[in-house]
């Protein structure tokens, strides 16, 4: 029997659709698949910070490729979350230079304060997901955490860690989506 309460198929907002159109024009018309990564970034930002299977199907539809072509990409690149995440995903750099300056201790401290565990689901309050990542290219300012597009650097004191967490806790509105802050006329780069 067909389920009667199937969730509505996800749809991109008008703003996201316009952004996707702009991006697709950056590649030869027959190479629309090239827009895969940028469109996945938009999808992830638009649908709660992760790409559910039906979101990936939507990306396939928009790009005119088979769903498997999206799945093989989304599972390869570490930036795409395949499971639900908290409001803020804290990406803690654990690579050599950050480890030399105390990233292991930082990870333990963040687990203790937020109650979330690295690699597991969000904290009980739904605010934080902790994720250990490899090099964030900020080695001179270690240890480093990235939250969406913002880098929090030199998190080697209690004060700096607390400042980051309270800034995130006090963020009432959802963070801006990538295309909302560009201030770019959409057509500029496509003449």
């Amino acid at each position: 029997m067909e389920p009667t309460n199937a969730p509505a198929k996800p749809q991109f907002s008008e703003a996201a659709k316009a952004e996707i159109d702009r991006i697709c024009k950056q590649y030869p018309a027959e190479r629309r698949k090239s827009a895969m990564l940028p469109v996945l970034h938009i999808a992830q930002a638009e649908f709660g910070g992760w790409v559910a299977p039906e979101v990936q199907d939507l990306v396939a539809e928009v790009l005119g490729v088979k769903p498997i072509e999206v799945y093989e990409v989304s599972t390869f690149y570490t930036m795409f979350n395949l499971k639900p995440v908290g409001k803020h995903v804290l990406e803690i750099c654990r690579t050599g230079p950050c480890q030399l300056r105390g990233s292991d201790e930082l990870t333990m401290e963040l687990e203790r304060i937020t109650g979330a565990k690295v690699g597991e689901g969000p904290s009980a309050d739904g605010l934080f997901t902790l994720k250990e990542v490899e090099c964030l290219a900020a080695c001179g300012f270690a240890p480093v955490v990235q939250v969406r597009e913002k880098y929090y650097e030199q998190l080697d004191t209690e004060a700096s860690v607390n400042a980051m967490l309270s800034e995130l806790r006090n963020m009432v509105h959802r963070p801006a989506l990538p295309w909302e802050e560009t201030g770019l006329p959409n057509a500029v780069a496509n003449n």
């Binding site: 090239s34 990564l37 390869f76 080695c139 560009t182």
Partner: protein
Amino acid sequence: MGRKLLTEHINVEGIDTIEVYRKHGGYRSVEKAIKTMTPDEVVEEVKKSGLRGRGGAGFPTGMKWSFLAKPEGVPRYLVCNADESEPGTFKDRQLMSKLPHLLIEGMITSSYALGANTSYIYIRGELLYVLRILEKAIAEAYAAGFLGKNILGSGYDLDLYVHPGGGAYICGEETALLESLEGKRGNPRNKPPFPAVQGLYARPTVVNNVESIAAVPVIVNDGGDEYAKIGIGRSTGTKLISACGHLNKPGIYEIELGVPVEEFIYSDEYCGGIWKGRDLKAVVAGGSSVPILPKELILKTAAGEPRLMTYESLSDGGFVTGTMLGSGGFIAMDETTCIVRNTWNFSRFYHHESCGQCSPCREGTGWLEKILHRIEHGHGTERDIDVLASVAKQIEGNTICPLGEAAAWPVSAAIRHFRDEFEWHIRHPQEATRPGAVYPGKAVLA
């Protein structure tokens, strides 16, 4: 103070806007190249400059350009590799976010030289905020007539786009980057064919690092011969060094190639010495993939000469006593650093980032990580060191792309120079795994 060719104006307020950038001489190279030079003349200047690829390989940029196939009626591409992800290397992010127009100017002048009408900057996905800075600057360049159709009335057209990656170190390898740009998994391609013949969309393509492209405006403005006067021997020009680890002043320094390593570490002009008044133990000089060197060998060559920050001096003695300049990712470690732990950390990185296409890399990096993990955690066996060295040896040269070597070299170099520390871990597991334990030195081992 050394000359600054790329970063002279990096702290000028508003230098990320086209007005301020042009006030400081910005976009002169575009006007000069397009109005007064043929594309081949630009390539010739870059050849004369002796500029070597700043992404790590150090291959002469002008020569790379001259390999580009130029069949009639077929588009060709310039792709900027801004997928900076090598541990220890963070210069490109800084350069792009503070001086976006320098990269864009370099892209336009270079694209003109190569006859590319569409160019891409492939930037690592984590740097979405830098992507926005670049897109804003690109819009300004379009509005000023440096991009788009009929640039400066010359009949030359160029479109420039920024493309974000998705968090995969392997996409810094040029063919993996091209696969990724085509919307696929970042699996490196077999070479040949080289990108110069079949690159993006199977068209002739040049892939250059951010810093290499940023040097092109300087070379065009001042002439290749002038650029070649800076530096020593075949290491011409300036280089951005990103310094991190246990230094008093980590950060990004533009040096004239040829500065002594000792001066770079200890002088106040650069890193200001080792933090907390400690002694230096070891340095990884060119990003995590290059061999580690103990203090004695990084400061002086095997012949006892002062080691210099040049491609040649750092690699003096091959890998027995030398290392590589690589991408300029300079990681200093103080006397309390556990080399086993550090090597394990880097192996974990390479295992995590292996694309999995070739068995020696996919399986080998996992073995390296597992063996190093058990030595570091006090479960090593006497055979482990030889097995490690043997696995590293068997990865080398047996993979499609250089990620295999990048994973193997740090391990073999750590064993070569710090074997006694590995032995201490294996023979004295309880002492070695105590939190904060420091290898007490050879005397205790005996």
